[in-house]
Amino acid sequence: MIPIAFDYVRPTTIPEAVAALVASGEDGKILAGGQSLMPVLRLRMAAPSVVIDCSEIADLQGVRDDGNSIVIGAGTTHHDVMNSPIVKEHSPLLAMATATVADPAIRHRGTLGGALAHADPAGDLPAVALALDGVLSVTGPNGSRDIAAADFFTDYFTTSMAEDEILVSVTLPKLGAGWGYHYEKFQRTAQGWAIVGVAAAVHRSNGNITAARIGLTNMAPSPVRASSVETALSGADATVKAVGDAAASAADGTRATSDLHAAADYREHLARVITKRAVLTAGGI
């Protein structure tokens, strides 16, 4: 379909983008890479009066090493994130999960910040940001603020950003020595959305699992941490049995929905099975 008519502006600085968003009232929509927004516009699920294209704002681009963490500009494309030497070295879980997003052509335009701000419950990257304790930096007419990933995703396609704020960057603590990682995605077709996804980072020392961080995709309106699994794995033996026992609680506290692709109880089953797989792979067990 053809989108409903709108005005189009292409600011080149963050303050210009914020000013355009404020000027639009509540009817403006930020276009980062457009790979989620364009389908929404074509289906007429959204009818903004103005589309604010932020894809040519240089300050939203790129990845930098910031000591104990890495900082990724919100407008950095999936293609650039997954091929960034800094991301691959210090946040390989993000690189791995990003490589599973859609297909190569979509990854050339789609952006990390766009995917997080869109907050699709089936999107892969929110669970990664949550599992890695990411921090999202946003800016608006009243200044800038940092929001922990745990406080950012609030509901279906909904975040804690105000209507007049835009996402500027994502900070991820580096995964240091001893950490393994894996993103396990269960999907029906090659470029399909995750029916369930599991982002796992596992730290091992002397044959034990010392810490685990696990984010679940599409098990609730927003990404969720598998907290009970993380607790059970802390100090557990690095064995198939211990991981399997811990993963049995992966669906606890989730709110999986039933849809065309899967019933809720099947999603809960998948969460347990692929959490086990993800942790075993991440832990090299």
Partner: protein, 159 residues
């Protein structure tokens, strides 16, 4: 709004509505009908073109976003000395049946081979994972792209 871009080396300027998709601009304003408009849901990939040398789905990009940029379509694949090897490969290996998906397959294949000149067949399958052939003729398409990898082009096409 007025947009200007370069398509296959030719400048074009037109007054369009901001909501116009790049695929419609290419077909209607530039008059280049090689790029197909398929699923309109970002899934099938037959509308794939290059913007600044990167393969994109032109049904999921506004023409306004391409303002000031370089676009290359399937009409721009053929070089001075004849067909691009991916085009020849589709002939040699019977890489199309109805042909509807072919422009997107060709543009994706050329983009891919420029970055991975000696791919495995699994890498080819991954590269075209965003392209759907409803005749399901994937085996011959993979063979055709593999044929093209074994017959590198001699002339350079740059977007």
């Amino acid at each position: 709004m007025q947009v200007s871009m370069n398509i296959n080396g030719e400048p074009i300027t037109a007054d369009i509505e901001a909501r116009k998709l790049l695929v419609h601009f290419i077909r209607e304003d530039a008059g280049l009908r090689g790029t197909h408009w398929g699923c309109d849901t970002s899934n099938c990939g037959t509308c794939t073109v290059w913007v600044d040398g990167e393969a994109v789905k032109s049904c999921t990009v506004l023409a306004a976003q391409a303002d000031g940029h370089e676009v290359r379509t399937v009409e721009g694949l053929e070089g001075a000395d004849g067909l691009d090897p991916v085009q020849q490969g589709f002939i040699e290996c019977h890489g199309l049946q109805c042909g509807f998906c072919t422009p997107g397959m060709l543009m994706t294949a050329r983009w891919f081979l420029d970055r991975n000149p000696s791919p495995t067949k699994d890498e080819i399958r991954e590269a075209i994972s965003g392209q759907i052939c409803r005749c399901t003729g994937y085996k011959n398409i993979v063979d055709a792209i593999h044929w093209a990898a074994e017959h590198p082009r001699t002339n350079e096409v740059t977007a």
